[in-house]
Symmetry: C2
Subunit: 421 residues, 2 copies
């Protein structure tokens, strides 16, 4: 939560273009939850009939808002989303639930809906009671300023209101067709530390004007989260508050409503959702605390996709691999170490490693006389590609996974050794 | 492997006093395996009839020397130990085994024993062929200089020969009684990075003049390793080379030879072995790369001892906890986070956390008005104690574990981002 000193060198050059999403109205305000002089509360109003799906942290010490959303999710309906930054409302005992109830009620009263249709999330410091009154006192103003989510500026303001140590706001947008009808998916996200599966972002909210039943939405969200938000890691730490919620307003153009997530009519929608969620997830990595390199790790030749992902995450989470990359050192010995410690089957004597597309180890040993120049050039860049074949399986059935992470630098230490002081 | 700039601030003031161990002769030499001007090979000759036990890395990409020791261990007999630093002989393909065979043969020829009784270990850079001839060419000199291990200087020289990034040599010694007869246990260790269970040190060698069958020795070693070398972590990374070997020469005073590890006559021996191994394990943490704080984490109230250890390691491995401690910040919110991500049962609303003996969180929330002054004083010191009760079980049956780690600092980044350059 310390004030970021500079925008991440890996940040996109600008906030994404965002198409309008019918049925979503947005407002944000500076409530002084913790910091002065910045927006810290986001309110989204959703059209009547909006359906909802969510995936949450697997932490055993989840926050009060996560408890609330989990309890409300089976209803499948949403009318509002309320998010604050500055305070996570986590590990706050019975007062945590009271604060959720107070803020949710203040939304539900004004939008005349059931409290269980108000979803919420909080991010920031853990263990301090959430000053709910700062939010409830601002509610009249928030509701009065709700505006259609028609332009990128509105979405950028929403993305800014949920930032903590983030150095840039994160948004992504895509269009898809369902049965020939065009629908839009927009998303915002925040997160830059305490980022690891599962979940891998602290908060992300996705909005589509498609009309999809809650059950279908939930299947699709869980599947796509696995390849996006659950495939990134900054520091292997998992927040108590990680939340990804997908709202489907049904306020766009009419289309046939598929009642099965496997309906081929949804293929294009799924692909677009993966584009949006993947883009947001990678933006979270690009804002990793202290990050100077964006790293893509692909593992092939594993027993299963699951095994491949565990090995890829073992590489992506290894402090020794991450510091080597910070030092622009193509230290594949540390990659071998990380493959070994993952606990999944790997054939040491068939292992092959490529960096930046250049094979530098094969058949379990260094490739003699490989051209070091392009590898060194690749390591000097800010996008690093590592591919490892673990030599257990080949062809169609071979396990494969890609994950994304960033390097581990002095910047991470500086940010996190001074967090509260 | 970069040259250490300064001795760790957490180092013991002096190398341990070491009692003589009958049946052990030591020699070391500067063979130039990688670095000039320092000893880098250790040879130990063991009395005829020496028994042996070992525990090794669980890495799926273990080094050639680890493969060799695993294959030789069932024989239960040892006559020599050969260790080099500077090169790990790991991920070196078929040439790795050839290098082991060449160096082992050069020992076996001179000591006229079977190669399978020569145990070996290598530590240093991964993926570069071991220049075996540098070691074999020095073998005549090494054998000629073997001397009884009668004084601390001899043990210190042995400990120095196996160092890599270590900033100080590590030794420990204890005496015990078996059936009224006094025996001695000495140990040396090396390791300061790539340290995590299982195993938690790179290399440690233990020597006793007791007479114990190999099977008994193996049971005892595995049990004690669990509470010592497998209860420390520096950076969660696991080496390809981790090796702990215990030699029992039987060259001390005669005692009744227990044939069962559960024999009460061995209780004092086990306690002394735990003293030596625990001392060495904690010395490895005290030499953690960049460490400025030594951290003891105790978890109580867990479902089982195993669950308690997983939660304790989750805390000890969390970059956010480790950087907070580096910043002298009693940030218990991050401890809550680390408890939550461990995946073991924890009751969020009963969780209690003490730092330096002061309870700062209880019943799932901050203790209001706790005295911050002694906590801040404790955080400013270089020995940090964290105790967490996870509120699942109480009394006799409650799971409990203690692990040791160090903080994560700029020093770690500096050492590891410049490793090979």
């Amino acid at each position: 939560m310390s004030t970021p000193e500079a925008i991440s060198p890996l940040a996109p050059t600008a906030f994404s273009d965002m198409a309008p999403v019918a049925g979503v109205r947005l407002a944000s305000a500076a409530c002084g939850v913790k910091y002065a002089g910045r927006t810290d509360v986001l309110l989204a109003e959703l059209a009547a009939g909006t359906t909802v799906a969510g995936v949450f942290t697997k932490s055993k010490t989840a926050s009060a808002p996560v408890d609330w959303c989990r309890k409300s999710l089976p209803g499948g309906q949403a009318q509002a989303l309320l998010v604050n930054s500055g305070n996570a409302n986590a590990f706050t005992g019975v007062r945590g639930l009271e604060a959720v109830e107070a803020t949710v009620k203040s939304v539900a009263d004004r939008l005349t809906c059931r409290p269980s249709r108000v979803f919420c999330a909080s991010t920031g410091v853990i263990g301090e009671p959430l000053p709910a009154e700062k939010i409830t006192e601002a509610m009249d103003g928030l509701v009065a300023s709700l505006a259609d989510a028609n332009n990128a500026a509105g979405w950028e303001a929403a993305a800014r209101a949920i930032m903590t140590t983030d150095t840039f706001p994160k948004g992504a947008s895509a269009v898809a067709e369902i049965s020939g009808v065009r629908v839009t998916i927009n998303g915002i996200a925040k997160g830059s530390g305490m980022i690891a599966p599962d979940m891998a972002t602290m908060l992300s909210f996705l909005f589509t004007d498609a009309a999809l039943p809650a059950g279908v939405l939930q299947s699709i969200l869980a599947e796509v989260a696995d390849r996006t938000f659950n495939a990134i890691t900054v520091d292997s730490d998992t927040s108590t508050s990680d939340t990804v919620i997908l709202f489907s307003t049904g306020a766009g153009a009419d289309h046939r409503e598929p009642d099965d997530a496997a309906d081929p009519a949804l293929d294009d929608f799924k692909a677009a959702l993966e584009t949006v969620m993947g883009d947001l997830a990678r933006q979270v990595v690009r804002d990793g605390e202290g990050a100077t390199k964006f790293i893509e790790v692909t593992v092939t030749g594993a027993e299963t996709d699951f095994a491949a992902k565990r090995i890829a995450l073992s590489i992506a989470n290894s402090p020794l691999v991450k510091t080597a990359i910070a030092g622009e050192d193509a230290n594949w010995g540390r990659i071998v170490m990380a493959v070994g410690k993952a606990g999944e089957a790997a054939d040491r004597d068939k292992l092959a490693i490529s960096i930046g597309g250049i094979e530098i180890a094969a058949e379990g040993a260094a490739v003699e006389g490989y051209d070091e120049t392009p590898v060194a050039q690749h390591m000097n860049g800010d996008e690093i590609e590592i591919t490892v074949d673990v030599g257990i399986a080949a062809g169609e059935g071979a396990g494969r996974a890609t994950v994304w992470t960033c390097d581990l630098t002095h910047g991470y230490i500086t940010i996190n050794a001074d967090y509260r002081s």
